[in-house]
Amino acid sequence: MWVEWAWLIPVFPLVAFPLILFFGKKIPKGGGLLAIVAVALSFILSLLVLVDVTQGNLPAAASGAEGEGGGEGVAVYESSMTWAGVPGMKSPLEVGVQIDHLTCLMLIVVSLISLLIVIFSIGYMAHEEAKPRYYAEISLFIGVMLGLVVANNFLLLFIFWELVGLCSYLLIGFWYKKPEAAAAAKKAFLVTRVGDILFLVGIIAIYNSFGTLNFQDIQEQIKAALAGNALDVGALTTMALLVFGGAVGKSAQFPLHVWLPDAMEGPTTVSALIHAATMVNAGVYLVARSYFLFEHAPDALLTVAWIGGVTAFMAASMAMVQHDIKRVLAYSTVSQLGYMMLALGVGGYSASMFHLQNHAFFKALMFLAAASIIHSMNTNDMRQMGGLRKKMKLTYITMTVGVIAITGVLPLSGFWSKDEIIVTVFHSGNLPLLFLAVLTAFFTAFYMFRLWYLTFAGEPRSDEAGHAHESPYIMTAPLIILAGFAATTGFIGTPWWPRFQEFVRWGEHGEAGFDLVSAGLMGLSVGVAVVGLYLAYVLYSRKSASPDDYISAGAWRSIHKLVTEKYYLDHLYLAFANKVIYGFSRLSDWFDIKVIDGAVNGISNGAVGSGERWKRLVSGNVQHYAVGIVIGMCLLLLLMAYALPALSGLLGDWPGLSNWHWWEGWGW
């Protein structure tokens, strides 16, 4: 029963992290070997756990509730221990693992793709100085991502969630001496932090209303409330939206997607890891994991769907005008994540997870292929490339597989999952969203083939492109493996053999069946993909029309400007930061200087100032002191003469002077 050892899966890379950090120089490949071993162990263990779960081979005592809403009859393995608790808490905080089918899927995807990326890194980072740091951070990243996946409660998930954010900061800013990289790292950290705050507030709200953070327990409570017709949908919607806020940040959804394209400043392998296997999937996974919050909150689901749809459309439109090969892929990632959110929002739980899996494979493939190109060209600019199909055969073939997979052409993986999403959106009856989804499919085909034509077709447009060479086998081997997966993973979820949908599901049976409508939609999605392909061919290969003709004048020009300026969102945020935040900071600064410091300085200035005045009394001139003595003595005399007798009524006979008159008895 390997499932009992599932907690070890994140432990391997997490142990490798300090070892590589401190002893990396002594390990072959600057610690890369240890990272590979650790991730490979995690992958093997994930496979064994998957085998256990598919065969229902779970420990009887620990197998959790046979849930109804959470996938009928899906056995869940859960094991946890108390971490901390104080009297008066509704339930103690715990750490533990939860293994169900969704977890298995994520474990396989994350560990397998991470493993291939780390192997690829051996070649890609061969000339890098700081290899131990790179491999240590990569190991930490993979470890916390695996930990995030197996976590059994919101708190543990949030801890790993934040660690993922930290690792993305470290890795995006890996070349921290480059100002752009440092800025991009900060941007990624800060923008995702906006979502993290919402997520944290959501967790607090969940704990307040359910008294626990355990996924299973909350699910049970919601089910019980539903059965007793006592479900507070408003509160549920709020919680779901707050949790979704976290996912918006991490998965780079509109309007927090701005960090992801800038995150391309990191090493390309890091981009592959963040954008294919780990970080951005965390947001989608979070929504899927807490789907029990969403499923009975229609407003929250609709919000998720719309955010996803808008993100998919906007990102795809921005991808069409980029010249940096990595940025095209980055916007493509945002767009595909939007697809996943859209699917989740319209109830296509398994479709979304299916797309997540397929996207992970083909996007990792494309990022690594891009890395291979960048490795041999030393530039990201597609205008410098061209004609690489002859120079880099393996990269060319594998990239082509990835491009066809993402555009959704039969029979590669992207087709099956994207088609299923479109079918689900159609069945939800939301036509604007269906329109967005289909338009995005068209855009996707266009920008992907644009990338393909600019990079591989035609003649070399620069010396570097002319002298490009194929990458070593340590880099091409992972490409070939990933291409194999990108081509074939779709077959486990076809409408005729929905093995995947039966494995990962959320109470949705028979919806994904094959009928005339889905056949029509299939035709539609392939059709728009082919149109996009043809348009890219016309503009960038045959060149019978130049894109410059369109963007030089008229409405196209303003649209082009709008898109190249990223819908002015960065401007908006910058203006917001400059005007509102900076204004508030200045107000605070003024308050600090004038009021708080003013009070402190005022007191000290008052003391110093009064001291300045008083010190004139101490002139150092003896004669002044003598005057003081004389005046004091005169005052004493006056006191004795008049004040004391006047006070005698008050004081009684106290100093015994009441009847003493100094002027009497001297024989005047």
Binding site: V618, S619, G620, N621, V622, Q623, A626, V627, V630, W666, G667, W668
Partner: protein, 102 residues
């Protein structure tokens, strides 16, 4: 017999003259002299009171002798300080001693 008040008025005048000298003159020598005048005013009081209150005990006179001795000692010390100041500054002005204020 001369009334006591005559002595007291005289000594008060002496005291005020001495006080005036102390407060106004800059020369250390004059200041010391003025202080002696004030002391002597007090001495006159001693003697006068003694003579009027208990004429046969001489206690006031004894006090006065004591006071004169102490005044001599005080003048000696004062002169010594002033000599030191003179060596330091080349003048004998009490206002030169301002540095001692802190």
């Amino acid at each position: 017999m001369i009334p006591l008040s005559a002595f007291l008025v005289f000594s008060a005048m002496l005291f005020c003259i001495g006080l005036y000298g102390v407060l106004t003159r800059r020369s250390a020598i004059v200041t010391l002299m003025s202080i002696d005048i004030m002391l002597n005013a007090a001495n006159i009081n001693f003697v006068a009171f003694s003579a009027y209150s208990s004429p046969f005990e001489l206690s006031g006179q004894v006090f006065t002798v004591l006071s004169i001795v102490i005044a001599a000692a005080e003048t000696a010390v004062g002169l010594a300080i002033m000599l030191a100041v003179y060596r330091l500054k080349g003048r004998m002005n009490v206002r030169l001693l301002k540095e001692l204020k802190w």
